[in-house]
């Protein structure tokens, strides 16, 4: 491959005179000569027309530093949940510093603008990309994995060898034995990610669905809403009257957004935090509920009890927007279904009791309402919220039915009165009542829940309870109201990222009749499911269970939900057999090759020692694609160096917090031999195709046993040559396609978007795999989720067509979770007395920036954890001591910060320290078993199903039971 540089001279060539603006002249260089024993050199040209005055080095500082250019940049693949545009100041091919591109215009006069956005990490990326951790040449491992032996190889050698390795894997075990993981580096909306996606798709690799693998899947939202996108712009928070931060710490994790909460206080809002510890977000709160860890569902249910008992609920909203009026058969404790009432009835048609006609009527908007479940409009029906009703079944039997509401009230009144909840949550019952009353009384109340709420064992139960509160108070779907986790901007042109994402022609034809009427959220969900079925997506936790050696740990008795009759192995079997959970490669097929882009599995995966010791040895080929070294990269066979964020173009994924889509222009050339992701993966596809041709590789086994032709991989990747990833402007060509086809944003071409940096959202986009918060976008308003449901009465994409609190899936009934309840996690009674909790920290985006010297200086410089004096004193632990955190599964050592702000019983260690920052490289994940709920493997029921980026099991790293003992004392030794 002639256009790939072989390892070349590392010498930097100067250009004389260019700085002064005159014609450039190359400076002559000495060359070692191979024919004489004297080196030869080209005579230097006569250089100096004028004399240079130089006395001492202060002379060189006299001239005022003048920038060559200021470029709009951002940190596309850092997987930071904010999107901030930066001005990157460039001179002499180096990006020197950055300052916010603070040009955001507010949508309406009565909300604060979003300027300046940004954080301390973004403000020093220029130094991170030039830090020691940067890798600038392709590397090949020499010696054992993890032994630290590397040699520099050319791109040509690296790509040839990797391509051959991938072909070998495909020939041996099929293309699904090649595992691709973008992990927490996540995805941009443009060329920086499109290359990997196209490669994975063209190769028919297994793609790890890491969404929940990082513990970010709001399963409670999926179960209740059939979707989890529930956020708008952060200036919408300003419109709230009652903001509850509940399992989240936005002061750390939403640095550019959180001012809206603090400014809302000045506007008269109340800010409440529900958290076990006096978290940094509590600093600016008005009220704190110091709840016992992992009892949040009990608090939520007790508040619901108070609201109902004191009649503080919005009945009209509930009747229309929730399943609370739906009928349940008392005999079976399941929904009353059409199939109960008619011989030819369907299972997904459900009923409420119409008070007008005093009959059970089929609920409009439910999945099987006969009209595709489109609208919630109740028309003339008056659903009964409560009551006992006699219904005659198809077999002639009469059964008694009652409502979901009745079931709820009964359960709340018997188990979740404030006094009872107080015993669980440790909160004063008056405090619970006050909280419930204030929330109900507020014109607009919202719950900021964050991803943190997904990382507890029963996080889905927390979320179901939170959503219940926002439903009872009629807040979901209104500005400044409702449960908020996150959402992404849609971008119609994003399809350009993939060569052929989406539906077959036949699928599209089938959609036409639906499309004519307008696609519903449920239609879209069907489309996503179909699309997801065309690629080998596999959720991370089941993948680890089946292929990576985690089964043994997760099958252990103490990690099971004692309410369930079987252990997780049983449910896994049933789920795989039913086709509910997708496992790629299939059981029995060996994973052979692993390519990860930027992510760091050996830091991130729970008990990552298992991955290292069991999964890794199965792999013939491990390739890390990254701009920086990491623990995982140290165990790779090849390292492909990727251009840093300011060295390539890209589109940051569009988190909905800001009314703009943020793009990143190329400020400087890639350092050393690094290449953009777009070029790197394009080349990889090209090499696979060429090597497959050269090696006469016939069809191999591809996706789900179909055959796959490796000699067309690059054609597929480039859409038969439409793209040429080696062309410098090729990524902009892709961006052109993205923006030309995206009427929802203000830029019409890639170049225009790059010059803007921040591209204004101007209208709604259609939903996509990751975006469907179902709200119209009005450029002159703040943005909030779920408007369509309340304003247009569109049916929710659930079985009931409503926010659904009763789930009569048999597994849920077995588990006692058919209704939102509080359950103790499996570790509740662990003999280890402390619970390890954590969260994202303010100092890094996952492991990126974790080793940045300046930022480490602003912490303890080494991994540290927080403990309350009450737990420290009996263990003779002082601030600054090193302690060992341990349980039967593993251990690590860290420095203690003795903090009155931390709750007794808690050990808080914020995340993403690299294992090599700990003694013996035992990272903070080692004791973390991170069990997960078998229920999350359920499927075959309305909204309860898996597809790519939806409804996959999330693990529970939080609350790991541990004990702590003192190892050494820094301060005492010093004294």
């Amino acid at each position: 491959m002639s256009n790939n540089k072989s390892p070349k001279l590392s010498r930097r060539k100067f250009i004389i005179g260019a700085a002064a603006g005159t014609t450039a002249v190359g400076l002559g260089l000495v060359s070692l000569s191979s024919c004489t024993n004297k080196p030869t050199w080209q005579e230097l040209p006569k250089i100096l027309g004028k004399t240079i005055q130089y006395d001492d080095f202060s002379d060189i500082y006299r001239e005022i530093w003048k920038w060559d250019k200021v470029v709009k940049g951002t940190h596309t693949r850092a997987n930071c949940i904010s999107a901030c545009s930066w001005d990157v100041y460039v001179k002499d091919g180096i990006a020197w510093r950055e300052e916010q591109n603070a040009i955001y215009e507010p949508p309406r006069p009565d909300v604060p603008d979003m300027n300046p956005r940004g954080c301390q990490k973004g403000a020093c990326y220029t130094s991170l990309q030039l830090s020691e951790a940067r890798v600038t040449h392709p590397l090949k491992r020499v010696g054992e994995r993890g032994g630290g032996g590397w040699k520099r190889i050319s791109w040509d050698e690296a790509l040839t060898e990797i391509a051959d390795g991938l072909i070998d894997a495909a020939v041996d075990q099929g293309t699904e034995s090649i595992i691709y993981d973008h992990g927490t580096t996540n995805a941009g909306y443009g060329p920086e990610t499109a290359g990997d996606f196209r490669f994975a798709s063209a190769m028919k690799t297994t793609t790890i669905d890491s969404w929940s693998g990082v513990g970010d899947m709001p399963m409670g939202a999926c179960q209740t809403w059939g979707m989890y996108n529930c956020e708008g712009t952060s200036d919408d928070w300003f419109r709230s009257d009652y903001i509850v931060i509940w399992v989240g710490n936005p002061v750390y994790t939403r640095i550019p957004e959180v001012h809206n909460m603090h400014e809302a206080r000045y506007k008269g809002a109340k800010l409440v935090v529900v958290a076990p510890d006096l978290s940094p977000s509590t600093v600016h709160a008005d009220m704190w509920l110091n709840i016992k860890p992992e009892t949040d569902a009990a608090l939520g249910l007790a508040c619901a009890q108070v609201m109902i008992e004191e009649n503080l609920i919005k009945k009209d909203y509930i009747l229309e927007q929730t399943d609370l009026p739906f009928l349940i058969r008392k005999d079976t404790q399941k929904f009353l279904r059409q199939s109960d009432l008619q011989a030819d009835g369907v299972d997904n048609a459900l009923y409420f009791w119409d008070e007008k006609t005093t009959k059970a009527v089929l609920a409009p908007g439910c999945e099987g309402d006969g009209d595709d479940g489109r609208s919630l409009d109740l028309g003339n029906y008056k659903p009964a919220l409560s009551g006992n009703f006699q219904v005659k079944l198809a077999d002639g039997k009469t059964v008694e039915c009652y409502t979901v509401y009745d079931k709820l009230v009964k359960q709340l009144n018997s188990e979740y009165r404030p006094d009872q909840a107080a015993a669980i949550t440790g909160l004063n019952p008056n405090l619970i009542r006050r909280f419930a009353r204030e929330m109900a009384a507020a014109p607009r109340a919202m719950i900021f829940a964050s991803w943190g709420a997904c990382k507890h064992y029963h996080s889905d139960l927390f979320q179901r309870a939170m959503i219940l509160l926002m439903s009872l108070t009629g807040n979901q779907g209104y500005p400044g109201g409702g449960v908020r986790v996150a959402a992404w901007w849609g971008l119609d042109g994003i399809d350009a990222m993939m060569a052929d994402i989406g539906l077959t022609a036949m699928d599209q034809i089938k959609l036409i009749p639906k499309a004519i009427r307008g696609l519903t959220p449920r239609d879209f969900e069907d489309i996503y499911t179909t699309v997801s079925e065309t690629e080998a997506n596999t959720p991370l936790m089941p993948f680890l269970y089946v292929h990576a050696g985690y089964k043994e740990m997760w099958d252990q008795e103490h990690l099971q939900d004692s309410a369930l009759p079987h252990n997780i192995a049983h449910y896994m079997r049933e789920s795989i057999d039913n086709g509910w959970v997708k496992i790629h490669p299939a059981e029995g097929v060996q994973p052979k090759a692993f390519i990860f882009t930027g992510c760091n599995p050996l830091r991130r995966w729970p008990s990552s020692q298992i991955a290292r010791d069991v999964f890794w040895p199965k792999l013939d080929l491990v390739v890390s694609v990254n701009f920086r070294m990491s623990t995982s990269s140290l165990y790779a066979d090849y390292f492909l160096p990727i251009a840093a964020y300011y060295e390539k173009v890209g589109i940051k994924y569009g988190q909905s917090y800001v009314h703009y889509l943020i793009c990143s222009d190329k400020a400087t050339e890639p350092l050393g031999e690094s290449k953009s992701d777009w070029e790197c993966f394009g080349l990889l596809s090209k090499y696979v195709q060429n090597r497959a041709k050269e090696r006469n590789i016939g069809p191999v086994e591809g996706f789900k046993g179909q055959t796959h032709d490796l000699t067309t991989v690059y054609d597929h990747h480039t859409e038969n040559g439409y793209y040429n990833p080696e062309e410098p402007d090729d990524p902009i060509k892709l961006m052109d396609k993205v923006f030309e086809n995206s009427p929802s944003v203000a830029a019409n071409s890639g170049r225009e978007a790059l010059d803007m940096g921040a591209v204004r959202i101007i209208g709604p986009a259609r939903p996509s795999l990751i975006y469907q918060n179902f709200s119209d976008y009005d450029p002159e308003d703040t943005h909030w989720p779920h408007r369509d449901f309340v304003e247009k009465k569109v049916a929710w994409p659930t079985l009931t067509g409503r926010q659904q609190f009763f789930i009569d899936h048999p597994w849920y009934i077995d588990a006692g979770e058919d209704m939102p309840v509080h359950k103790d996690p499996p570790h509740f009674n662990s003999k280890f007395p402390l619970r390890m909790n954590g969260g994202h920290n303010r100092w890094s985006i996952h492991a990126i920036w974790r080793d940045h010297k300046l930022l480490l200086r602003l912490q303890r410089g080494v991994p540290a954890l927080f403990m309350n004096p009450k737990d420290c004193d009996p263990r003779d632990i002082k601030d600054g001591d090193t302690v060992r955190v341990h349980n039967n599964n593993g251990e690590f050592e860290a420095m203690v910060k003795v903090a009155p702000a931390t709750a007794p019983g808690e050990v808080i260690i914020y995340h993403a320290w690299e294992p090599y920052q700990f003694k013996n490289w035992k990272g903070q994940q080692e004791p973390v078993e991170a069990p997960w709920k078998a229920l999350h493997l359920a499927g075959g029921y309305g909204q309860i199903h898996y597809r790519m980026y939806y409804g996959s099991p999330g693990h529970a790293p939080r609350g790991a039971p541990v004990d702590v003992e003192k190892v050494s004392s820094l301060l005492e030794e010093k004294a």
Binding site: A19, I52, I94, R152, L634, E914
Partner: protein, 218 residues
């Protein structure tokens, strides 16, 4: 006062020496490895450098600059020492890594180069604090000094620049690089190469300091 005010060494030769040393930091590809194998590299360095500072003849074991290690062995060693690391290679060839604030070092490099009318070529791959860049800048300064050999006053400006550049940069961090190479038990070839460059630079430091009136007393 008996402080040398006139250069006693040939600036042209010194310029040559710097250019040559810059070339010795090539990645050991086929061509470069050949030069090592067939003794060319060793001979050429010895000829040029010892001509300027005869003391180097004895201080360096020149035979170690010739080795029959194969290309792969040299490449692995090069990468181990200079290229790779989860948080940087053990013996980086970038001066800014040794000094505390890298961006500041880079800025000073760019300022030095700009001040003397230089800027980066378009296809540069290394940062301005890389050893080859710094050595080539010295190569350039000595060359300019040579151009003004008839006018000591003018030549002196370039001598002062050499003095500051060595004192503030090469002379500061190259000895640390040398320490690191020794600590990391580099292969004899690299051990010797870096030792050669270090010794040369320290001799130069003394020379330019004397030249510019900075007295050193032991």
């Amino acid at each position: 006062m008996n402080i040398p005010t006139k250069s006693t060494l040939s600036a042209k030769q010194r310029s040559f020496a710097y250019g040559l040393m810059a070339a010795t930091f090539d990645y050991p590809d086929k061509e470069f490895t050949e030069l090592i194998h067939n003794k060319q590299l060793s001979d050429q360095c010895k000829t040029i450098l010892c001509d300027i500072y005869p003391a180097l003849k004895e201080d360096i074991d020149w035979t170690l600059l010739t080795t029959q290690d194969d290309k792969e062995t040299l490449q692995v060693e090069f990468s181990r020492l200079f290229d790779v690391g989860a948080s940087g290679p053990p013996c980086p060839l970038n001066g800014g890594v040794y000094l505390e604030e890298r961006m500041q070092t880079l800025e000073e490099m760019v300022r030095f180069y700009n001040y003397f009318g230089l800027t980066a070529g378009e296809d540069f791959e290394e940062l301005p604090d890389h050893i080859t860049t710094q050595l080539e800048f010295m190569h350039f300064l000595c060359h300019c000094e040579d151009e003004h050999q008839d006018d000591p006053e003018k030549a002196n400006h370039f001598q002062r620049a050499q003095r500051d550049f060595i004192n503030r940069h090469l002379g500061k961090w190259v000895p640390q690089l040398n320490d690191n190479v020794q600590e990391n038990q580099a292969a004899p070839f690299y051990l010797t190469l870096i030792d050669m460059v270090t010794r040369y630079i320290l001799l130069e430091k003394q020379y330019v300091n004397n030249l510019c009136g900075m007295i050193t007393v032991n």
